[in-house]
Amino acid sequence: MADMLTIALSKGRILEQTLPLLAHANLTPIEDVQTTRKLMVNGPVVDGTQVRFLIIRAADVCTYVEQGAADMGISGRDLLLEHKPHVYEPLDLKIGCCRVCVCGPKALVEQGKPKAGSRICVATKYDRLAEEYYLSQGIQAEIIHLYGGMELAPLVGMAERIVDIVETGSTLRANGLVEETTLYDISSRLIVNPASAATKRSLIKPIIEQLREAVQRRENA
């Protein structure tokens, strides 16, 4: 049996929704991961294998799992679509639900979508998704990469559209922006390193099934 099973978790709001699912699979961290400043926290011992959790930024989870520093992790579908890491995505945890949307200033969006052959500036942290979408529409998009606060870009005239996560739409409204198109529905996925899936199969498979059951149970509640 393997010595260690490492699970990478995202810091923040998703973590709160993740913990009950982990508890159902008897994978409760021994410390309160929402308050500790530790980045690595032990969990239970399962079949002689020590489980440990890495508490890291959401954007880094797929990197840790792809590189094999973590065997499994929980990552948003937006990041998986954008970065296309070589990981398995066996389970939709149905938490952290939101959408990746194209948005723009109300007046511009009301004029209709940009025409094929036109050229626009788009601010986003999802460079690949934005580029793929506009290429498919025949529109030449200049992608301006930002790390946050996309809504500001159209307000200062830096971009005509943004491609960003929308959950309730309140930030958009507060900044005079509206949704134009939904590109993807997003939720958090359980991801697994392919090599770990093979070498730690007898440990990982039951965990996936228990988490699947927990998701199902919560959906039915």
């Binding site: 393997a2 792809e66 590189q67 094999g68 520093a69 296309k84 890491p85 070589h86 398995y88 995505e89 066996p90 389970l91 939709d92 996925r189 697994v192 390193n193 392919p194 090599a195 770990s196 899936a197 093979a198 070498t199 199969r201 498979k205 996936i208 699947r212």
Partner: protein, 316 residues
């Protein structure tokens, strides 16, 4: 003097790294020689059509092509040596019915690997041609296990699937096999569900594809479903179950064998059994292999062929 910039995705090996690479290479050659295999050394470049025979655009997408002033034609830097071995076996070694060959050389990919950023591999591999069925497959899987052990990988695992199962499950679909394989490689039930939404396949096939995407395609699952899809599926399932039973009994203590029907080949020229090798402490597949009888047909010599290969750089 100005220093030239390095080339994207290419690097030099020297000192300890070079000596380790050679030491491991010679250690592996000894294993292959002992098993009765002999070395074949193909050239660095080929005619593009020779590289893509039977492999379609899976290789052409990764092939650097250039004009050759001496030959007044196009040449390609090999992205994979297996098609070269297939060409040599089909055209230069016709006097032998069974060929046991190995090779080790540099290949270059047109695009950097998404993860390592590298475009070069020191592809090393074994090809066993002219022997159909289990005998050839067991021998190459045995050598795959020995190779991983020689390189110091602990607890090696071979996950074995069969392209015939994927083809049988998607029979009648207008979606290309490449697309199905890509979806399966992500093991994402949600993505599979989206793809199945527009497919006119029998429900039992759709359920099976969903199970594969959820990572449930093990030996127990396969034995249960073997006779529920169609004749082609039943034949491939029987072949795989039988092969794994034989391999398990022959390679006890050497390597762990797992049936994983969703295991997919690195390049899509494989048409029968396929396998990938993993080991503790390595974060990605260490080797890929399988049966590629169809590619031999495309080279004009219909003969069974099976083998595996890996990147020696990545094994250091």
């Amino acid at each position: 003097m100005s220093v030239l910039k390095p080339i994207l995705g290419l690097e030099d090996a020297f000192g300890e790294q070079a000596s380790h690479l050679r030491a491991l290479q010679f250690q592996l050659f000894e294993i292959y020689n002992k098993a009765g295999f002999s070395e074949v050394i193909p050239p660095l470049v080929e005619r593009p059509q020779s590289l893509v025979s039977g492999a379609g655009r899976f290789l052409s997408d990764q092939t650097l092509v250039f004009s050759d002033p001496a030959d007044a034609g196009q040449l390609a830097i090999r992205p994979d040596i297996t098609p070269q071995v297939a060409r040599i076996a089909a055209t230069r070694m016709q006097s032998s019915d069974a060929l046991k060959l190995y090779y080790s050389g540099q290949v270059m990919l047109a695009r950097p690997d998404a993860r390592s950023g590298s475009r070069q591999q020191w592809q090393t591999g074994v090809e066993y041609l002219g022997v159909s069925g289990e005998a050839g497959d067991v021998e190459v899987m045995h050598l795959a296990g020995l190779s991983m052990q020689a390189a110091g990988f602990s607890s090696p695992v071979l996950q074995v699937g069969h392209m015939g199962l994927i083809s049988a499950l998607t029979e009648g679909s207008e979606t290309t096999l490449e697309t199905w394989v890509k979806t399966l490689s992500r093991r994402s039930p949600e993505d599979m569900l989206n793809q199945l939404a527009n497919e006119d396949l029998p429900q039992v096939n759709k359920d099976a594809l969903m199970a594969l995407a959820a990572g449930q395609g093990d030996d127990v699952w396969l034995a249960e479903i073997a006779n529920q899809i169609n004749d082609d599926f039943a034949t491939a399932a029987q072949e795989l179950l039988q092969l794994v039973q034989t391999v398990e009994s022959r390679l006890v203590g050497e390597v762990t064998i797992q049936i994983e029907v969703a295991v997919v080949p690195r390049f899509l020229y494989h048409s029968g059994m396929v396998f990938s090798g993993f080991a503790d402490g390595s974060s990605r597949a260490l080797l890929h292999g399988g049966r590629y009888d169809e590619m031999m047909k495309a080279h004009g010599r219909a003969m069974p062929a099976t083998g595996f290969s890996f990147d020696l750089w990545a094994w250091l």
